[in-house]
């Protein structure tokens, strides 16, 4: 029983991390209408920015966290201005291919600057809290789930209660009508990248805290992130959260029957099932 609960906890932690990435991917799908394959590496970039803060500039973790979120958002906007916005008129496929190129460039840059080896934010082992029955919870795990929940709450408040948040939802629904109503679509696009960049960076940092930093850490999570976004209904950020928890839990629970190495295959299998059975996702998002 305790082992099972332990796995559930791992699942929730992983699900929280995936959720932050999946929300971004879903928003980009909904507003910019393409599959952003560089999202995983955006997460990696965020994680390494934080490492630069902590290891390179001896900042406390929370300051490095903030720095990384801001820096990643700026990079995301920069990539959009330099590349994606110029290809927007062509086709979603070209944008996808372009984002694959960006993914590779980001990954290579990270590896060239910080090296190919595993790294961590803090050396040493932190002791977990032990509960009745031997249940172990790491403080970082609490931070991750709490932090992710906090960010998601902020996003929810933004989307539901602010003028630009509603404009984002409007643009996701119907970009032509948004333009007709006078909504400044350029600004909404920039906001989308800011949010996506911030959430991706947070996801990357949390992932680094939970496991370790490695140049392909984000790329390895790309498939579960997309699976979660598709599962919840592309273009529906709230659905993405639900999808992420499902994927996270499923991946961890699969270790009961499958070798741990096959965890990504679980996410993939779930995604294929959804795509074949109900392509609009559990909560009926768009179909691209």
């Amino acid at each position: 029983m305790i082992d099972f609960l332990q796995i559930v906890i791992y699942g929730i932690v992983l699900g929280s991390i995936i959720a932050l990435g999946a929300i971004g991917v879903s928003l980009i799908f909904g507003i910019l209408r393409f599959a952003h394959f560089a999202h995983g590496d955006l997460m990696t970039l965020g994680a390494y920015f934080a490492l630069a803060g902590v290891a390179g500039m001896s900042m406390p973790m929370f300051a490095a966290f903030g720095l990384a979120l801001a820096a990643t958002a700026l990079v995301a906007i920069g990539i959009d201005r330099a590349l994606y916005s110029r290809l927007q008129q062509v086709s979603p496929i070209i944008l996808l291919i372009s984002s694959v190129g960006v993914a590779l460039m980001l990954r290579s840059l990270v590896q060239m600057i910080w090296g190919p080896d595993n790294q961590v934010y803090e050396q040493g082992i932190t002791m977990p809290w032990v509960f009745a029955g031997g249940l172990r919870i790491q403080p970082t795990q609490v931070m991750i789930v709490g932090g992710a929940a906090g960010l998601m709450l902020l996003l929810h408040l933004f989307l539901q209660h602010t003028r630009f948040g509603k404009a984002m939802r409007a643009m996701s629904d119907n970009p032509d009508l948004a333009r007709l109503s006078g909504i400044n679509t350029e600004r909404v696009v920039i906001l989308t990248w800011i949010i996506a960049g911030v959430l991706a960076a947070a996801a990357g940092i949390f992932l680094g805290m939970d496991t370790r930093l490695h140049p392909i850490m984000g790329w390895k999570l790309l498939l579960p992130v997309f699976a979660a976004a598709i599962f919840g209904g592309i273009g529906k950020p709230y659905g993405a959260v639900a999808g992420a928890l499902v994927i996270g839990l499923a991946q961890e629970m699969s270790t009961l029957v499958l070798p741990a190495a096959y965890k990504p295959a679980v996410a993939f299998a779930l995604m294929v099932i959804i795509l074949v059975w109900r392509p609009t996702g559990i909560f009926s998002g768009k179909v691209l």
């Binding site: 393409f34 599959a35 394959f37 590349l83 110029r86 290809l87 062509v90 979603p92 496929i93 070209i94 996808l96 291919i97 372009s98 694959v100 190129g101 960006v102 590779l104 460039m105 990954r107 290579s108 840059l109 590896q111 060239m112 090296g115 190919p116 790309l222 498939l223 997309f226 699976a227 598709i230 070798p259 190495a261 096959y262 990504p264 295959a265 996410a267 993939f268 995604m271 294929v272 795509l275 074949v276 392509p279 179909v287 691209l288």
Partner: protein, 321 residues
Amino acid sequence: MELSGLFSYFVFFLSMASVYAVLVLGLNIQWGYNGQLNIGVAAFFAVGAYTTAIVTGPASDNYLGGFGLPFLVGLLLAMVVAGLLALVIGLITVNLRSDYLAIATIGIAEIVRLVLKNEAWLTNGVRGISSIPSPFDELSGIAEGMAYLAILLVFVGGVYWTCQRLFRSPWARVLRAIRANEDAVRAAGKNVLLFRVEAFVLGSMFMGLGGALYAHFVGFISPSAFDPMFATFVVWVMLIAGGSGNNRGALLGAVVIWAVWTMSSSMIDVLADTGLLPDQLATQASTLRIFLIGLLLEIILLTRREGLLPERPPKAIDRAD
């Protein structure tokens, strides 16, 4: 570099370019003819390589092997197994829009990679399979290289000729029609699914062939040889650079980008030797090359996304349908 060294370098260059040419031609059938976004090229490449390695390779205590089948059978089986994998995937994913198909193919590549790494009883895991025989093992040195290159060129020619014939065939015309207006084709009574799956399977079979040719060329394969960066991404850049949708572009792209790849390696070495390149970058030469290839892709997409040889639809006469 002395002449014989230069010549053997040239033979090596052309041989690898040929392997890639076969891969790109296969991808062109999926993307150029059929608009399918296969980002799992590495999977079919790997499956082809491993199939031929297992069936033609020496016996081993660690993994399945020792069938000792001849070279051509190895190639054939590589194509068959790659085709079967494509068939399964194709039937599941055939109706997915391109973006979804792309994600699905990434998943496939990941699963194949996991199987190759973990199912050591089949593939010898990360240690890889070595001593893969080549039909010219008895020859040595440059003679073996040249003989194998000849074989490679024959295969490239054969695949190219097949692709060109297909391009002008009614089959390809239907594919083009499907790309333009799927509903109209379905209304005309054609089985759109079947055509799509056929294109996917055929393209994947060529990728498997490329993998098999590669395996016999280098004689040793391991999961790391099919890293998605190398196997999949470079093939895509070759197709786009050369001109997606046309076979001559595929060949040109393979040669040009492979040249860029190998020359960038030499260039980086030179820069490192002369001290112009920081040490940290010099040791990461391959990563830098990947970065540059990625940059090249973006520049191509921004400035000339039709590639070097833009797609030219077949002459009006062929459109008499």
